[in-house]
């Protein structure tokens, strides 16, 4: 199974086994088997419609919100099947949290955005929340820009700031896995650099899965890269290997820009 016993010591955080995903009669993912390691950034690349986002949303069961969704195979988080009928998706999403392609700041204050997740289950002490807000915003490289206006509406932030706020909001949950769905697609290069800087720093403590349309970004910050095509996992390997000596010709065609 473990096609790549990469980097020796690393332990898989999520094991995906023969995962198939259907929406109604349409199959979106076919037979995905993949291990996602602790403390790594795994980038998922591939052309539009290749199932990258669907795959990502399978990892925290966000696809469940769609009535026609159906899956086969297993997704094991720390060895537990998250699609087991007794598995609680709400608890799962606190451990495996997500940053979306479009920065969606909830229409409330910056502070309230960050504490939204942590205050869902009970109300922690204010001092603890303050501390959490500062810690999360610092980790998302946003603290210095907003520390004096935490109580103003998050909608007044720029797009890049909102996306970092979304990252801070996820960090405040203290999750184990962070999923990012093209987090920089609408951002300027400076905001993108800040997000990338944050992700690399966060790798120490989290497992990060990043869907990106930007091959350069994948090459810059990821440890491993998985190439998806038409709902199938074509190839997964270290970033260097995928971008320099891909095993599959389809991967080669994609990374050299021959299609997609």
């Amino acid at each position: 199974m473990s096609a790549e016993p990469a980097e020796g010591t690393k332990v898989p955080k999520i094991c995906i086994r023969n995962l198939k995903v259907f929406f109604g009669n349409v199959q979106s993912l076919n037979n995905i088997t993949l291990d996602i390691m602790r403390q790594e950034i795994l980038s998922i690349i591939g052309p539009a419609g290749s199932g990258k986002t669907t795959f990502l949303r399978t990892l925290n069961r966000l696809n469940d919100l769609s009535p026609s969704f159906r899956s086969e195979g297993q997704v094991l988080l720390d060895g537990e099947d998250i699609y087991h009928p007794s598995y609680d998706p709400v608890a799962l999403r606190k451990r495996v949290s997500m940053v979306f392609a479009l920065p969606v700041a909830l229409p409330m204050s910056i502070y309230d955005n960050v504490v939204y997740g942590p205050t869902l289950s009970g109300a922690p002490k204010k001092a603890k929340l303050d501390e959490l807000v500062e810690k999360s915003l610092k980790a998302a490289f946003l603290w210095d820009e907003v520390k004096d206006r935490l109580k103003t509406s998050a909608l007044r932030l720029s797009g890049g700031q909102q996306q970092r706020l979304c990252l801070a909001r996820v960090l405040a949950l203290e999750p184990e896995v962070i999923l990012l769905d093209e987090p920089c697609s609408g951002l300027d290069p400076i905001s993108t650099a800040k997000i990338e800087e944050a992700l690399v720093a966060l790798k120490q403590d989290y497992t990060i899965v990043l869907v990106t349309n930007n091959s350069k970004q994948a090459a810059r910050i990821s440890d491993r890269v998985a190439f998806f095509l038409m709902g199938e996992l074509v190839e997964c390997g270290s970033a260097i290997q995928i971008f320099t000596v891909p095993k599959d010709t389809r991967t080669a065609d994609f990374v050299t820009g021959r299609f997609g």
């Binding site: 919100l65 709400v90 606190k94 949290s97 969606v104 229409p107 939204y116 869902l120 289950s121 909608l155």
Partner: protein, 278 residues
């Protein structure tokens, strides 16, 4: 034959402008007429003293109280029921024939003439449940009448909340209920308030449904089980029976001002709320 663009432009401007002018003119004429005839009658005494001689003299205080209590009772019942139904239909069920049927039913209900509600209220609350003509009977009847409006406007408001907000909330580990409570309803609030204002306006002005169910007693009510006369019913009786057209206009002016005030205050409140997050 082709119309030159410049001419078409001018014609459109004139025709559309005339339509707007006509609409505004009708509104101003009606409100103006009522206010011009009614305001001279108004005084502190008119508002806050009891009517004498069937309303020929004295004030309108009990009817003022009736016009406050009846819509209040109606909203107390209709708002939670209506919002609850709308949340259930939009967030807790999948689109199906049943939800379509419920929606269709609500639309039909909204189109039923109010006097039919009055008749039903009279038969059901007043006679079958032996509640008699009282504030509660009238309020419940009004509640049924405005329920479809509240359901439908709330539904539209909830639907207008971006789906992305829900996704974010779920992805942060919120349950459906927490998502509805913390994200969906606060964002739908302006739309929901609009529905409530519409309903409030409608129930303040309602006459036919009320006269059948709350009665037309001119005495000051002392409980929800007393009969009461609302301002609109008072106006109707004063005008219809030819008791006092002067006091009828006075009552109408109070009614119009009350509705304008309710609208004004609600929009101001809503504006304050919106200002906090934009």
């Amino acid at each position: 034959m082709r119309i030159p663009p410049r001419v078409a432009q001018t014609v459109a401007r004139v025709v559309l402008g005339a339509a707007t002018f006509f609409t505004v003119a009708v509104l101003i004429f009606i409100i103006g007429h009522v206010l011009v005839k009614g305001i001279p009658v108004l005084s502190f005494r008119f508002l806050f003293s009891n009517p004498e001689d069937m309303g020929r003299a004295g004030g309108i205080f009990p009817t003022l109280v009736g016009s406050v209590l009846l819509p209040a009772v109606a909203l107390v019942f209709a708002v939670p029921l209506g919002i609850g139904t709308a949340v259930f239909l939009t967030e807790y069920t999948r689109e199906s024939k049943i939800t379509a049927a419920i929606r269709f039913g609500a639309d039909c209900l909204a189109g039923i003439p109010s006097i039919i509600f009055g008749l039903f209220g009279f038969i059901f609350f007043v006679t079958v449940l032996r509640m008699g003509w009282c504030i509660l009977s009238g309020g419940l009847t009004l509640a049924m009448m405005v329920l479809p409006t509240i359901i439908r406007t709330t539904e539209e408001a909830i639907r207008a909340v971006p789906y992305a907000y829900r996704e974010v909330s779920f992805s942060l580990g919120a349950t459906r209920w927490r998502t509805v409570w913390r994200v969906v309803l606060p964002n739908a609030l302006p739309g929901i308030v609009t529905g409530i204002i519409l309903s409030l306006g409608r129930s303040i002005g309602e006459t036919a449904a009320v006269i059948f169910t709350a009665g037309s007693s001119l005495r000051m009510p002392s409980s929800l089980f007393d009969s009461v006369r609302t301002m609109s019913v008072h106006f109707y009786i004063l005008a219809r029976e030819g008791i006092s057209s002067e006091n009828a206009y006075g009552t109408a002016a109070v009614l119009v001002l009350a509705v304008l005030m309710v609208n004004g205050i609600s929009y101001w409140l809503m504006h304050q709320f919106m200002k906090r997050f934009s």
